[in-house]
Symmetry: C2
Subunit: 252 residues, 2 copies
């Protein structure tokens, strides 16, 4: 089983879109996938058409009340979800209780080893209790970045946090960078891409996800990009991205 | 003096771009403006070319150590800034200490009444200690929204939080909605705009800020849109937006 956290402190870079699309594509090609919505906004839950955010969800996992098996429900063939719920809002603030509180998710996921091939975590745009739990629970990090100056500028800061967590955990955690909402005709986007390739060549997945309005429309219908517009560039890019991820194809 | 918080829990909707552009435009037309970077990423600080995020900044205001007069420094004609600094990262988590801790910013801004015409707060994409301080300190809220389903979907949730704060504070707080990164040729964007006008007609400022790559480029040079590309649609839209704000011109 591999636990993958999709995270970046910068807001609006395509974390939810990437988590949902990768999770569904991995399930479509036959893997058994659990996706967890850790964002208090619950946008991944909305994106799959799961209507209600009341009742137990990932907040109960993070505060240790319930286990994964109690809450995972099937949303598509071979794809299961634990929804984001209102309780997450209050949790964001629980920093400062020390290391034990950052390991809640790690322990919850520890004993479900045999059930899923992949667990994918959609994270909020912050660096509090929820994101720290995701960092301590995951094997790998996928970091979406848009072709903007501010998104690039924030990347180094985030990767520093990741390095510190690696040292504390004394274990290697691969990280992958995905260029999202990419507009190849924009000079700025190409500049950001070149900078990222220069600094992190062995981490940037080869496929670039292009800007495609279908990716912004599909959450409104509660459908993944593969269900909403299977012939779109969004669907093509995310399925190619998953193959790159599985084979470790980077820009190097 | 008016205190304006630019906030939205949804990430990447143009909070920093709107806070910086409105602040500079208000200063350019003659008002005395203080802008405060409350985002742990410190992107507003970067956007104005203020290089260093070490040393005291807004974190010291929020934890009550220093006053506004100690930290405000002039960055442009009639525009002053208190920079975001690393200490903000640890503060995000301080929820749960009760009402007193949410009033820190309110008290810090209370006794500077005569110095500035406007104080503009750039907020992080979350709803923790920092955002609550901004909600309790401000007179008005500006909420940027992009023409996407997820950004629209999050709006109602955020406005509920705002309504609760109004009740606690027993005072009226105007809120303005600004459509940002708008692409008029996108059907989805027009649908979102129509929905917003239907639900909040008297709150949506008349000017829509169009997608304009110069707005994504200028932070890389530490320049505001007016300095970087005065003839761009970004500069035109933000200066029209400020006039709408000053005169209360909504889509109604
Ligand atoms: N490749 C793309 N093309 C067009 N629109 C996209 C693309 N990827 C994401 N979007 C849209 O951009 C917006 C931001 O994406 P998303 O919500 O996935 O980002 P996020 O990083 O999860 O945001 P947050 O920081 O708020 O959690 C959404 O409205 C989404 O539908
Ligand atoms: N009208 C616009 N046209 C083109 N690009 C824009 C526009 N407004 C903002 N941007 C770019 O979009 C990205 C997101 O904007 P910004 O960082 O201001 O959003 P934010 O809401 O402050 O994000 P966060 O939630 O991370 O704080 C930035 O790279 C910015 O330069
Ligand atoms: Mg998200
Ligand atoms: Mg910002």
């Amino acid at each position: 089983m591999k636990i993958l956290a999709v995270m970046n402190q910068k807001g609006g870079v395509g974390k939810t879109t990437t988590a949902g699309s990768m999770a569904h594509e991995l399930a479509r090609i036959g893997h058994r996938v659990l996706v967890m919505d850790l964002d208090p906004q619950g946008h991944l839950t909305d994106s799959f058409g799961v209507k209600s955010k009341s009742g137990p969800g990932t907040a109960e996992i993070l505060n240790g009340c319930l286990g994964v098996h109690d809450l995972a429900s099937q949303i598509r063939d071979s794809l299961f979800m634990i929804k984001g719920n209102r309780g997450l809002m209050g949790l964001e603030g629980r920093v400062g209780e020390g290391m034990v509180s950052y390991l809640k998710l790690h322990h919850a996921l520890h004993d479900i080893n045999v059930t899923y091939d992949y667990v994918i975590l959609d994270c909020p745009p912050s660096s509090g209790f929820i994101s720290l739990n995701a960092l301590f629970a995951s094997d790998e990090i996928v970091m979406p970045i848009t072709g903007d100056y501010l998104a690039l500028h924030g990347a180094a800061g985030f990767l520093n946090i990741l390095q510190r967590i690696r040292q504390i955990r004394k274990r290697e955690m691969k990280h992958w960078i995905v260029l999202t909402r990419f507009q190849p005709r924009r000079k700025l986007a190409m500049e950001v891409r070149n900078k990222i390739m220069e600094h992190y060549p062995q981490h940037v997945l080869a496929t670039v996800v292009r800007e495609n309005v279908a990716l912004a429309e599909c959450p409104g219908f509660g459908l993944s990009i593969f269900e909403y517009a299977a012939a779109s560039t969004g669907a093509a890019d995310y399925s190619a991205l998953v193959l790159d991820y599985l084979h470790g194809n980077t820009m190097k």
